[in-house]
Structure formats: structure tokens, C-alpha cells
Symmetry: C2
Subunit: 407 residues, 2 copies
Amino acid sequence: MPVVDLVVRNIGQLVTCSAVGAGPLGLLRDAAVAAADGRVVYVGSAAALPELADDAVVIDADGALCTPGLCDPHAHPIFAGDRASEYAMRVEGRGYLEIQAAGGGIYSTVRQTRAASDEALLKGARARLERLLSFGVTTCEAKSGYALDAEGEIRLLRLLRRLAVEGPWRLSSTLLVHAVPEERRGERTAYLEEVANELIPRVAREGLAESCDVFCDRGAFTSEETRAVLTAARGQGLALRLHADQIAETGAAALAAELGARSADHLERISADGIAALAGAGTTAVLLPGAALCLGDPWPPARALIKAGVPVALGTDLNPGSSMTESLPLMMSLACTQMRMRVEEAWLAVTRVAADSLGRADAGRLQPGSRADLVLWGCDDYRHVPYHFGVNHVRTVVISGEVAFEA
Amino acid sequence: MPVVDLVVRNIGQLVTCSAVGAGPLGLLRDAAVAAADGRVVYVGSAAALPELADDAVVIDADGALCTPGLCDPHAHPIFAGDRASEYAMRVEGRGYLEIQAAGGGIYSTVRQTRAASDEALLKGARARLERLLSFGVTTCEAKSGYALDAEGEIRLLRLLRRLAVEGPWRLSSTLLVHAVPEERRGERTAYLEEVANELIPRVAREGLAESCDVFCDRGAFTSEETRAVLTAARGQGLALRLHADQIAETGAAALAAELGARSADHLERISADGIAALAGAGTTAVLLPGAALCLGDPWPPARALIKAGVPVALGTDLNPGSSMTESLPLMMSLACTQMRMRVEEAWLAVTRVAADSLGRADAGRLQPGSRADLVLWGCDDYRHVPYHFGVNHVRTVVISGEVAFEA
């Protein structure tokens, strides 16, 4: 065993999300975690702790709850501007066209994002990643999608790469094919061909994204368009994600399954056939209660998905239009109270299942070999986190065995 | 004008909730607020600021949003224990009886509260009031109701008085007649007679509460019982509040109106007649989105209440059973997205209207003569607070002209 350089002792309740402990969450009582070189090397009774280096960092959890670092599998952290005025209009019942006429909608974010300097975009995204971190999120998916033109999307992905290098968070970047640019409305087919034949190969060549995502829905891209783009992405070695069945049931979830996507996201209006298809393919359903809340949409059918055997993850959907929040714990509360996910299911949905949906089998769990990413909470029971809602209970966040945040 | 001892300058957007500024929120741009001896003495253009004392505290708001301190008109901050396990059971669809059999329900909190020391109760309540303060709440209603027996209720109200004296928050204490004690189940009538004839006069004599509240609902107290208790309370000079029409429509809102109550609270199932009665009496509807969220109840009909002319306030309903949260800003987000309250209505509902419902005409607004209680936010537009939800935007809280909290 390598020399232990971090120990968290005196953990009252340890949620491992692995086979190390008991029950669905892998629970241990009165436990300790030890790490070396950023990886977990020991999880178990404090009595059997391995020997420590002289200069090992020792954290006393003081009986607190300790969990893996959270994983947000669906976020749009890089954009400029906000859409608070659009939120106010929507609350008043104004329709999408009226909001667009008043300068709202996705294109307002696109205009502001294109006009923003690199520094401004980095500053905004960094502030959002810091807030995510303050809520315990150590691994975060990060989508482009607010520039739309090829150069702009490349710029956003390069900025995300800078933020990934800067850390301390782990980012998983995704090229999001979000909408046809305003200036190319008459050239939809040509735009998508350029995306498939030029942008995606360039993103893959430069290693700028792990995944490609398409907004496949009524009023967005059709299933045929989505299939063409994602097939090109798969051919370039990118993993696939889909915005699916949010606005209308268009068969997008079944398409995600057919294409072997890692995730189908949203699913407020998924059909029974869609659920069966996801279950058959092993595609993860990434549910986004923040968007359903803000848009007044139906809650995604978490229980039916779970019953069918679909892995269910939860994300913030952090974005300026429909879910402006960095609180992944609040998404757990909404999932429990509105979607009837059990508390244990909600925890797995923001840890192991979310990390698996990003292909990160060493995140979202605490077991020998996994990343030493963990959260100490200001409470002593995992049920307290969704129960005591709207409040940030995070006390300390550790990433790669180093303290990355303290409340 | 007295000597100014506090100035907040460089406010980008000032929400006065008074006639000083423009529109429903009394908005001013590029403004300043000055205070002397804990009261506002000036609200307006920075150019016309009155002369300051040499040692005046000057806060530079740096263009930020400034609002009155928030007012939470419905909270149960003093109790022992938590009910996270009951939350988990409810999420799983277990019924109330099963939860009670497992040791949950209100009586579990009563048992723990009775068994707790004064110090433990003070510590728990203080932590909750500090969290409320961190969310911008400067004035808070505080109900007893988790002891039930006379001596226990008196103890809770005395502890609340200690916390009120300790400050910095302003507390408005309420004697809550919550349930018949377990040990007196067979003596319901005798218990209520003692409440009316002994407990209420004692509370009034000792000045331990401003208000009396009764849980009037199916499975709780009947309208007849409630009328008897509240009539006694009114006779002792206490203001009246009611838990009304939450579980079932029992005519409780109409009773609140008939008795001239300051507020009827919850109202998830209020009838059209109940709404008309509140409007006629000028009774404030205190809506509690946190409880509706956690219990899966219908959202209270905010739009119908507002249309009828009923003043609408929002509260946290902070309590261990059905709404464990101190985030009043999150209640605004829920009210906007789920109850279609306009953003301006939601702001008034947590400031001026809420303060008025507690008889505090000098709180919840910023105008000459009002309390110098205000919040500086980490954003520059009032719409951002409900829009960017689940995140605490509070930067600085001032109470009586002194900084009471800094993020």
C-alpha cells in the first residue's frame, strides 16, 4: 500500500455508494477513509487504519456524515448574461413568442455569449463551478451550446478545458448541438452537415469533448437530424447524450437507446416504449427536476423508470433559461418529494449512477482505487440532506485527497 | 433630523416596499439609505444625503440590490430532534399511521422537546434563527406548540423571549394550540378549557406572546373548539392567527375572517367562500409552499386570493415534520413557479405584507421612520433572487442600523 497522505477519521456515518458497506448506499458507521496520491486506499473501521506518513493530513469528521463527492451529470455552466426578466415574464404567463419579442429565449444568451470576452466567460463559469463545489459537486458535466457557430463552440470548449486544468473540480465536457444559429435559419441542413462533417471531427481531433449531445425535441432537432449528428459523433469516438422527450414525446429516448447513448436527459414526457427502450439498452435516465419546476412541466416518471430497471441520475440542468441553480442537493429534495424517489435512490442518482453516466467509474463512490473525492456534511445522517432542504449542509469538500472547499 | 450613524451608499437597485420609489416595489436606482438610532431617516438619491456623524458607518453597496430585511410570518423554530426518517418513510408512500407506529409524527417531536434541556432547545432554535438571518430574515414569527402541556408551552415561550432579547433578530412570539397532548387524549374538552381559562390568561399576563394560533383542521381542532380558544385569546388582548384549510376545507378561513384574525395560514384547500371571507375581513393569507412541496399537497391558490384582494404573505413554515427549511427566498421561487405569484408579489409577500400580518408596520419596508433593517444581495436586480434559486445570495444583513450578518 502506498504511503497514506490523507485520513478522514471519526466519520459517524459513511456513505460509500460501493459494495464496501451495507445496503444500497454501502453504509458504514464509525469509519475512516484513507487516501494516497489522490486515490482511496482504505475504507473501513478506524481501528484497522493503515500506517500514515508523518506529514499526512488528518481530518476529524467529529461524527459527521461523509459521502462521495457529488457528480452533476447535466450542466450548462458557460454562458454570459442572465434571463431573470424572462423568468418574471414566464411567471406572469407570457408565451414564448412574446418572450422572444422582448429579447428573451436561447438566442438572447447566444448573443450575449458571443459578445462576451474570454475573461468574462471564464469568470462567470468559474463562479458557477465554485458554487457547485460549495454544494459538494466534485465532478461536473459541462456543455457548450451557447455559441452555435463552429468557432464559437470551439471557443467555449477550449475555455472549459482551461477551467478543467485550473481545477480543483473534474469536468466532463460535452459538445451540445443546441439550436440552429439565428443567422443560418434558412440553412438548417447545411448547418447540420457542417456540424457533422467539420465541427465534430475538429472537436474530436483536439480532444475538446468527451461527449456529444443534441437537443432532440419538438421545435428543436428532429430524430432524423439527431441520428445523423450523433452517428457522426460516435464515429469520431465521442460518447453520446440526448436532450430527450422534454417538450413533447418524439421518440428521442428510444433513439438514445438505439444509438447506445450513455444518457437520455429530461424525459418529462417519455412514453412507456421509451422507458422500455432505455431499460433494454442500459442507457441512464438523467432527470432534471429544476427545469420541470421552473417550466411548470410534468415531473419525469422516476418511479416507472426505476421499476423498469433504468439507471436514474439527477442533474441541476444549470442554465440561464430554465434552471438557474447550482444546488444539486435541492434536486434530491425535489426528486424525493415530487418524483417519489427514495432517499437512497436520490443519493445514488447524484453519486455513482451520475458518475457512471459520464464514464467515470472511479468517481461517485468511495472504495479502494476510487478518486479521493468526498464531502463532509454538517449533519450525521444522509437522510437529513434532502429533508432539511434549501440549506447548504456542506462543511468540507475534498478532491484528489486535498481540501478543495471549506464552509 | 438626528445625527446619521449608518449610511448605505451606491445601491444599484433599492427595493423600498414603500411609497418612496416607483411601482409596486417602490424601486429606486442609484440610491442611498441613511439611519439614525436604528431607524431609517433618509431614502433617496445619494446626492441629497444628509450630513453624517464623524463616526458613521458607511457601507458601499457597490451597485448591488438592497431590500428591506425579510419577514417570515410563520415559523416553528423551537423544538428538539429531527424527523428525517419520517421524511424518508413518507417519500416511500408510507401512511401517517405507519409513520406514527414507527415513532414519527408530531408526538415524536413533543416527546423530544419535553425531554430536552433549556440549553439544548436554545441551541437548536438559535441555529435556526441564525440560518434564517443568513437568508435575510430580520423579523420572524416564532410559535410554541411542541410541548402542549401548560408548563411546557410556558417554558418554550420564555425561551423564545430569551432569544428575542439576545437578538439581533426581531421575534414575534405566538402561543400555538397545536394538538391535544397524548397523555390527555380522553380529556379533550378539559384540556381546551384549561388552555382557554388558564394558559392563555397566564401567557397574556406575562406578556409571553403577541398572538395565539390554533391548528383548525380535519384531525386537529374543530371550528367550534377553535372559536372558543381564539375568543378567549382575543379577550386577553392577543392577536389571532389560524392554521386553516390545509388538510381539508373545514371553513377555517371563514372562521379566521369572522374572528378578525390577522392571518389565515396554509389554505391549500380553501374554498371560494373562504377566499371571499378573507377579502371582506382584510385578513392576510400566509401561504407556505414548503409544506405543500413536502407533503405533496395542492399549491395554495395564490392567484385567486390576490384577485379577490386578499393580502398574500409567504412563510417558511420551518418545522421538523413538514417543512424543514430556513430559506424564505426559496419560498419565493416556489411561489413564482408553482403558484404563479408575480416576482413583485413574492417580494411584497416576504417583506411589507408579512410584517403587516405581524402588526409590525415599521418593518418590511424602507422609508423614513421604519426600522433600519435591510439586506444587501450579491446581485443587482430583485428578479435575480427567485430566478437563481436554491442558492443564498445574501451578502450583508443590517438590523437596527447595525451589521448583523455578513456572508
